[in-house]
């Protein structure tokens, strides 16, 4: 009885260690991506239409997911990933960035630590939503696997999102100077 109890603890400990090892070996963007709480949304100043609670939740989910997609696409140089979260101008520009990175053998890693998002525009008919995002971010620029530049920064972004069949997608995405 005692032996089986001890061996149970041993197995649990081993499983925990394996899990810890797996988590430690995950790329940082994947760990950050799992934390939905990094995106805080304030919709109180939205004009001309008030943003419904369900829409706030959808934006939190879909904008957060867009950053995961962006991080992964730029880190792995996989432009096809972008289609799940970006459309129109944003998709065109980011696709160009990924393709040029791949051509030059460059990559960049975005580790977004927190997003303070303010919804500033929500069209009267509900077909377009604009947000300003203040991001705490770590950026690594790589030539192959060699880091050529790294920085921790606060960046400001403007995004225009439009609804699609079952989610909101980013149509315009630009880094802007701080206020």
């Amino acid at each position: 009885m005692k032996n089986s109890f001890s061996s149970g603890i041993g197995i649990s400990l081993a499983a925990a260690l394996i899990l810890l090892f797996v988590l430690a070996s995950l790329p940082p963007w994947l760990i950050a991506a799992a934390d939905a709480n990094t995106v805080k949304i304030d919709a109180s100043a939205a004009q001309p239409r008030q943003v419904e609670d369900a829409t706030v939740q959808a934006i939190q989910r879909d904008y957060g997911r867009a950053w995961q997609t962006l991080s992964q696409a730029l880190s792995e140089n996989r432009a096809n990933l972008l289609n799940s979260s970006f459309v129109g101008i944003a998709n065109d520009k980011l696709t160009r960035a990924v393709n040029e990175q791949r051509k030059e053998g460059l990559r960049r890693k975005y580790i977004d630590k927190s997003h303070k998002v303010e919804i500033v525009f929500y069209s009267a008919e509900g077909s377009a939503l604009q947000l300003r995002d203040t991001v705490q971010i770590e950026i690594q620029l790589l030539d192959g696997d060699k880091v050529v530049h790294t920085e921790n920064a606060t960046r400001h972004y403007i995004a225009l999102m439009t609804p699609t069949e079952n989610s909101w997608k980013v149509r315009v995405f630009e880094a802007v100077p701080g206020a």
């Binding site: 004009q47 001309p48 101008i89 065109d92 520009k93 980011l94 160009r96 960035a97 040029e100 990175q101 030059e104 053998g105 460059l106 960049r108 500033v120 525009f121 069209s123 009267a124 008919e125 077909s127 377009a128 604009q130 300003r132 950026i139 620029l141 030539d143 050529v148 530049h149 920085e151 960046r155 403007i158 225009l160 315009v172 630009e174 880094a175 802007v176 100077p177």
Partner: protein, 289 residues
């Protein structure tokens, strides 16, 4: 001087020389999209330049001591750019923003596409201003919204963009027809069409007469909305007759501006007419009108 002091002095010398050798890349804080810039460098030898922009990246060899030229095509997309210089003992980096150039395009969302005439605040328009490189123009820019239908005065309103967006809410015009809804900023403009249709009938007047077969024929006057527009053909008008034998209802569609129906014969009936929520006059058939 002991060995430790020599090492310390050597470290300080290396640090000072590295500091002196480090490039100080001077770039403007903000560059207008599509504008070329020149970044002076110092020193000699070769280094690698990395440019990371929102949609464009570049890697190329540069000669230290000469200026680095970034062409307008390298800087078309608004956003944050990082320039990194590696090698030749000149590791350095800097960053700057590219901002949109002048407005060249207006993306315009207009709703709805079909609207009743003379309704307050029923038409909405949102305009997004972009430059020639599809960058959102974030500088406050006046956008003029006009709504016009032939033969009626134009409705005009000017709003200033905030974060590249301007919006408006307008009343629909009094006259039916295809209204041109235009958003313009600078030399750029975009047109949408809003079909203004007659609103609900303002009032319905009908007359009744006996047919050769003894039935009651009811005919309306031309049916118009409160602005005088003819209510579209096909709109349902309901005639109801109530007499001692019960209630008869006939739905009729407006044809060439009027509606007509034939009700069962009766010597004493109360006939009424309605379309949607609008009631018309009543006729006491067989009694006083």
């Amino acid at each position: 001087m002991n060995t430790r002091s020599k090492l310390l002095l050597l470290s300080v010398c290396v640090l000072v020389s590295a500091t002196l050798c480090a490039q100080s890349l001077k770039v403007p804080d903000r560059v207008t999209a599509g504008t070329s810039i020149s970044i002076p460098t110092s020193g000699s030898g070769e280094a690698t330049l990395y440019l990371f922009g929102p949609a464009h990246v570049a890697k190329r060899k540069v000669q230290l001591g000469q200026s680095i030229e970034l062409a307008g095509d390298d800087l078309r997309d608004a956003g944050h750019y990082t320039v990194v210089l590696k090698g030749g003992g000149a590791d350095s980096s800097t960053s700057f923003f590219v901002t949109a150039s002048k407005v060249d395009d207006v993306a315009f969302l207009a709703r709805p596409s079909r609207v009743p005439a003379s309704r307050p605040g029923v038409i909405t328009g949102s305009a997004f201003t972009f430059d020639a490189y599809q960058n959102l123009e974030l500088q406050p820019t006046p956008v003029t919204f006009t709504l016009s239908v032939e033969g009626a005065p134009e409705i005009k309103r000017t709003e200033t963009t905030k974060n590249g967006v301007a919006w408006t809410r307008l009343d629909s015009g009094k006259k039916v027809g295809a209204a041109k809804f235009v958003a313009s900023a600078g030399d750029a403009s975009t047109t949408r069409v809003v079909q203004q249709v007659a609103a609900d009938p303002c009032n319905i007047r009908m007359k009744a007469q006996r047919t050769n077969r003894g039935a009651i024929e009811v005919v309306t006057d031309p049916i118009r909305d409160c602005s005088g527009n003819a209510v579209p053909d096909g709109t349902i008008v309901t005639f109801t007759s109530v007499d001692a034998s019960g209630k008869s209802t006939v739905d009729s569609r407006i044809k060439r501006g009027i509606a007509r129906a034939e009700l069962p014969s009766s010597n004493n009936a109360l006939i009424s007419v309605a379309s949607g929520v609008v009631m018309g006059n009543e006729i006491h058939w067989g009694g006083k009108q």
